[in-house]
Amino acid sequence: MNLFAIITEALRALHQNRLRTGLTMLGMIIGVAAVVLMLSIGQGARTKINETIAAMGSNLFIVVPGATSSGGFSFGSGTVKTLTINDAYAIAELPSISAASPVTTGNVQLNYAAKNWSTLILGTTPDYFEVGNWKMESGTTFTESDLRSAARVVVLGSVTAKNLFGDEDPVGKTIRITNRPFLVTGVLMAKGQSLTGRDQDDNVFIPITTSERQITGNQFPGSIRYMLVQGKSAEDMDIAEIEITQLLRQRHRIAKSKENDFTVRNLTAIADVATGAAKVMSIVLGAIASVSLLVGGIGIMNIMLVSVTERTREIGIRMAIGANQRAILTQFLLEAMMICIMGGLIGLLLGIGGAWLVSQVTDMLIVITLGMVGLAFLFASAVGIFFGFYPAKKAASLKPVDALRYE
């Protein structure tokens, strides 16, 4: 019997029991839809995190000053002014380091025409934009000569630019920062939220020299809030961390018995943790969804077993007129597989539809890849073969005489 004829027979049998076929299929539909939906949500979360990490820049360290404590109370990092601009310049010279960018921070009031906006101001070096993987929406960053001359130039974050200028092009305009005029040289492209959920686009950047002298200057000249350091290669991050630590201990003249007055954080490690967490989440989601697929599969096995018992006489007749064991096996296996494949296809469409709906209703990123579609389909077929085989085998190994006698 050729395959086409067996498929026709299987379709006929499924058609004869439409309600039962439909209900059994429902198990597969729900299972596959759940798997597709969960995989796409998980994949979406991973993609989102990867984008954030890529936007953050690669091979990054963040070096923050140590914490002071008084009477057992810690005042948090940055409460001592141990890091300086010169520390950053020295670190930049290390063999494993490609750049180091010092940052001071403060809160300022901005004015342009009749509008005003209060935001975070960062004083830094032109390297910062390179290290932090910032791209320009328009204009340029400030330059090394701006830095040397402590020029009054400013680069705007996209949110700040929007609030202050609306649809107007800010480049070349002059804004007032704490009543001092600054020339806007450029606007940064939006980055979105950081891994910790902070808006990275509501801020302005000026040369650190300008900041020191005119905006956020304090009683410790040259002290900085933190520095952003970029290692030369991902492999040498451990070496780079040791080099930074040794250099800073030496520069700060810290005795061997004393603890560091600064902290070096490897952002790549933090990113790895976030990526790992997202990966675990998608695995867990997929595993939970797979359970429903498993339950659907068991439903198919159950129904096929009932079907084989019910149709024992039919099997006997078919054997009497010349069906061999393989023909019977194939017929019942194909019935199970067709339930799975049809259910799988419907489930796939429902899953994609559901994922689309989720992405419309929430602001979650949903990613559906061809691989996922293939995986769901493969899974459905595998479930069909796995759970359909035993009932089909049972049908095929019936003795003709017993099957024919069955009432």
């Binding site: 019997m1 050729n2 004829a5 078919r318 009497a320 007129i321 005489v401």
Partner: protein, 251 residues
């Protein structure tokens, strides 16, 4: 379309010392052996029309199942044509059932919710014939049994006699040399029974198809040319049938 030009020459069925017994577990878990057939010896030649008679429990259905390769003997040998059936694999037995034997049952045993045409065509599908070819051949057989107008009917839309004609068409579709009929008229009225038996007689006379018929009715057995009577698993009578209904009616 005479398949057997030289019938009544060589033996089609040869049974030697055939025994069949079933093992059962009784309530105490002891194995009870229940022997149904005892050392049967039987030869049936091509072109014969044999009726096997006996009361229920005489072993005639068991013998029929063995002859039809639906069941295997416990001991003894069974030669069907050139083949020793006892030595064949399941697939080879399926092939023999498909190619060499046509079954006609008391309860018709048509496949439900399938048209008469598809029922007749199914053995051809198992023989590997394409769907369109098998349907064409099936329609030809239905035409010969006078059912071409019912080809698209399902079994439950047909009368008993019509269903049995469909079953006979199905038995004939692969042109087997042997037809085994297990009480084929058991569910039919007298008039329809007569028509079905005449159809068998006609197939036997005109096409030389060997027919082995199981019945417990004398007037049905009367259509056969040879009569075998079983009692408690033994052959007690094996004789030429002198009643000769066939010659009268066919002539």
């Amino acid at each position: 379309m005479s398949l057997m030009t030289n019938y009544s020459a060589s033996p089609l069925i040869r049974i030697e010392n055939l025994c069949k017994s079933y093992s059962l577990q009784d309530a105490n878990g002891k194995t009870i052996t229940n022997q149904i057939l005892f050392n049967l010896n039987l030869t049936i030649y091509q072109g014969e029309f044999v009726a096997i008679m006996g009361h229920s429990g005489s072993g005639k259905s068991t013998l029929m199942n063995i002859l039809g390769c639906l069941d295997t003997p416990t001991s003894g040998s069974y030669w069907l044509g050139e083949k020793n059936v006892a030595a064949l694999s399941n697939d080879e037995l399926a092939h023999i059932r498909n190619q060499s034997i046509g079954f006609v049952f008391q309860g018709f045993n048509l496949l439900k919710r399938m048209t008469a045409l598809d029922n007749v065509a199914t053995p051809l599908l198992y023989a590997g014939v394409s769907r369109s070819n098998s349907r064409r051949q099936a329609l030809e057989l239905l035409r010969r049994t006078g059912l071409e107008n019912f080809a698209m009917h399902q079994p439950n839309q047909l009368s008993g006699g019509q269903q049995q004609r469909v079953a006979i068409s199905r038995a004939l579709v692969n042109r087997p040399p042997l037809i085994l009929a297990d009480e084929p008229t058991g569910n039919l009225d007298t008039q329809t029974s007569r028509e079905i038996m005449l159809l068998f007689a006609q197939l036997n006379c005109e096409q030389g198809i060997t027919i082995v018929l199981v019945t417990h009715e004398n007037d049905i057995a009367a259509y056969a040319k040879r009569l075998i009577r079983l009692k408690d698993g033994h052959i007690i009578v094996d004789e030429n049938n002198t009643a000769g209904v066939v010659s009268d009616e066919i002539a």
